[in-house]
């Protein structure tokens, strides 16, 4: 049997600029928007677009990703023929290797793709928030008789130098591209979403297999272009958000609480699916405040929340006050604590009477590139003891005890990183 188009979802990246959030989970498995994980968006796009065969390429810290995806039931990707398959690097009789680049990962899974004998292959990343109908993009690809179609979106010209920029002719055919140009000639930024004719991609991968760190943007696309293949640009104008830094991750979450969010999860026709436990409705107590919030199922709110994104099963006890924060699934915030601009990853516990996110911003003593926002970032499963005061731009990971906080304080820009190994 033949599949017209299958998808290959690259989900192996660490996303190191998300700091302690990705210390133990791959970026696509990071929680988003109260009950989702980032990978839910491309997976839901696939099934909503009629793509029912998806290979998910994993490498970095795959455990959470594997348990989340399982056999694909939440996305209806449990199929007799096709469905979702986790593709991890494997040992071969010779040249065993990790996935060394985006295209190398596809190269190592040629046999998987061949087994479905597809006409087209859709290449996706696992780290963006967007809704997109890949079928429309495929129609565009077919109508142009293209070999390769790259999705791109217009960005403000002053920001264009951060992206891979596509230069097209009047028919949409790509005539040139530039990687992070100083003086961009166009504002069409590549989104890392490609449709290839499988025969074209297969040949390109085999020809270039010796190139170290074989990459789509750096090697495969330029190769196809130079060879004279028909490479087209599919312009996309919807919502598309890169959540690659702590700042953009926080911002994208906060956009969901706008009165009419640009990215609307409440529409019926393009549902986002996720694996979730059956939970009761959330409980909001008589003294609670929930102003400008989205809150996940089964949460119990006794405190006051302003501008927050709260995950399923979270408990916020009496006397707690939280502003502008992301509280992921299963966290417990005990009596009398206050949190400000904090990202609290799943199943963390904040003790009683803590003050988190207070004082003035200070440069990070841990990693200036990653921690350059006034956000407190707390890794999954962390514990913060009672009665401590924590400044801004702080990173915390692991089970911390009062001894970790001299005078009960952690200053702005500070960090406590405790090893994950037991």
């Amino acid at each position: 049997m033949k599949k017209e188009m299958i998808a290959m979802l690259l989900a192996g990246g660490q996303g190191s600029r998300l700091g302690v959030l990705t210390a133990e989970v791959a970026k696509p498995a990071v929680s988003f928007g109260g009950k989702y994980r980032i990978i839910d968006f491309p997976l839901s796009n696939c099934i909503n677009s009629g793509v029912d065969t998806v290979g998910v390429l994993t490498q970095y810290q795959p455990l959470r990703l594997n348990t989340h995806i399982g056999i694909g039931i939440p996305w209806d990707l449990d199929r007799n023929y096709g469905g979702v398959t986790i593709l991890s690097p494997y040992e071969q009789s010779q040249n065993s290797d990790w996935y060394t680049g985006t295209a190398n990962a596809i190269y190592q899974n040629i046999r998987y793709i061949d087994s479905y004998n597809p006409e087209y292959v859709l290449i996706l990343g696992g780290d963006h928030i967007y809704k997109m109908d890949y079928e429309v993009m495929l129609d565009f690809h077919k109508s142009n008789n293209a070999d390769v179609t790259m999705a791109a979106m217009p960005v403000p010209l002053e920001e264009a130098s951060r992206f891979g920029i596509l230069i097209t002719d009047e028919t949409g055919r790509i005539v040139d591209f530039e990687e992070k140009p100083k003086n961009p000639r166009s504002n069409l930024a590549s989104m890392g979403i490609y449709i290839f004719n499988w025969s074209v991609l297969r040949e390109a991968l085999l020809t270039n297999k010796e190139i170290p760190h074989l990459d789509f943007g750096m090697h495969v696309i330029p190769y196809c272009h130079q060879r004279g293949d028909r490479v087209f640009c599919y312009e996309y104008n919807g919502y598309w958000k890169d959540v690659g830094t702590l700042g953009s991750y926080w911002e994208a979450n906060m956009e969901l609480i706008d009165i009419v969010p640009v990215f609307n999860l409440y529409e019926d026709y393009w549902k986002i699916y996720t694996k979730s436990d059956t939970l009761p409705a959330q409980y909001i107590s008589a003294d609670a405040v929930t102003e400008r919030c989205i809150i996940g199922d089964g949460a119990e709110i006794y405190g006051k929340l302003y501008n927050c994104v709260v995950g399923p099963g979270v408990v916020v006890e009496e006397g707690v006050e939280i502003h502008d924060s992301i509280i992921m699934e299963g966290c417990v915030i005990k009596k009398g604590s206050s949190l400000n601009k904090t990202i609290l990853a799943g199943n963390s516990v904040v003790g009683e009477n803590c003050k988190i996110g207070v004082g003035e911003y200070a440069e990070s003593l841990y990693n200036k590139k990653v921690y350059c926002f006034d956000l407190v970032t707390v890794a999954e499963g962390s514990v913060i003891p009672d009665n401590v005061t924590i400044g801004k731009n702080v990173a915390i990971s692991g089970v911390t005890t009062p001894e970790d906080y001299p005078d009960g304080k952690l200053v702005s820009g500070g960090y406590i990183i405790k090893g994950g190994e037991e």
Binding site: G33, T278, Q282, I284, A288, E291, R292, C293, E300
Partner: protein
Amino acid sequence: MKAIGMILAGGNSKRMKELSDNRAIAAMPVAGTFRSIDFALSNMSNSHIQKVAVLTQYNARSLNEHLNSSKWWDFGRKQGGLYVLTPTLTVNNSSWYRGTADALYQNIHFLKDSHEPYVVLASGDGVYKLDYSKVLEYHIRKRADITVVCKELPTSEEIGRFGQVRTDADGRITDFEEKPMVEASTNVSCGIYVIRRRLLIELIERAADEDRYDFVKDILIRYKNLKRIYAYQLETYWSNISTVDAYYDTNMDFLKKEVRDYFFREGDSVYSKSDDLPPAKYNPGASVRNSMIAPGCIVNGSVENSVVFKQSYIGNNCVIKNSIILNDVYIGDNSVIENCIVESRSTIRANSSYSGQDEHRIVVEKNERYIL
């Protein structure tokens, strides 16, 4: 487990008023995200009963929709599964289910084709958690013929709608009165039974021969001196939702922390069909106090002492008090709703006011809905 399960979910009740116009009681939404039958189904699943039949008859559309896949309760395995049994015309039978025993009799093939030695019979209108294997253990220990799960209730007018039992010191049922006019006992039958499969087949075949159709009247009560019928006392939460007041009170019980903790944070989970709804959203102006809000809701107004079910929209400046808002209800701006149960998919126009005085008012409003 050495038992199969059968859930009687065919029932309708006049005492549910308009709420049962469109659905079987077993499909009534409970606690924001569940339906009544989820409790019996989850109990079956958590007791490791693998083969379960649901007997439906009255207005089963929303029930069938809810049961369209068995995977949510972890049935649908190679061994066992979930069977939805409806009345059908056959050469020998052209009737609807004429009673509970008749419903079992019309599906006797399900009993005969199974090989498990015991049957757990349950109803679809109870809200409770119970490990049926504990009841079976008790049944075997007492060498009982039939075990009836019973619950001690406080005296109230409500008690007249249940079967009332009296037992001897050993737990054997000596008196069983079905819905008596004068209160016989405060120990009531929960409508949950454990019985040996062969005995059940024998009893319902004999009842059918004599044109008797009711499991309680024609089997339990008639045989109580002949067979060893025992009461298993349920000490934990149990509620039957089949009147408007009981339905209202049961939902309001979930506003108590100890009830929520018991059902959702301790012991086995309760499962339901997954709906993939986004988190509930609270816009500026939302003020929610002592209420449950289900996923997919958008709240702009004030909600107090209420349970709001899935995907409901509450407009600006609304005041919702002491009410139950069922699934997918749209409430226009500036509306006031007090002491009401608002039926699923209702559309309440802006500036409306509904208030239940002496009793909980049921609101069904099928207005045109305009949504951006």
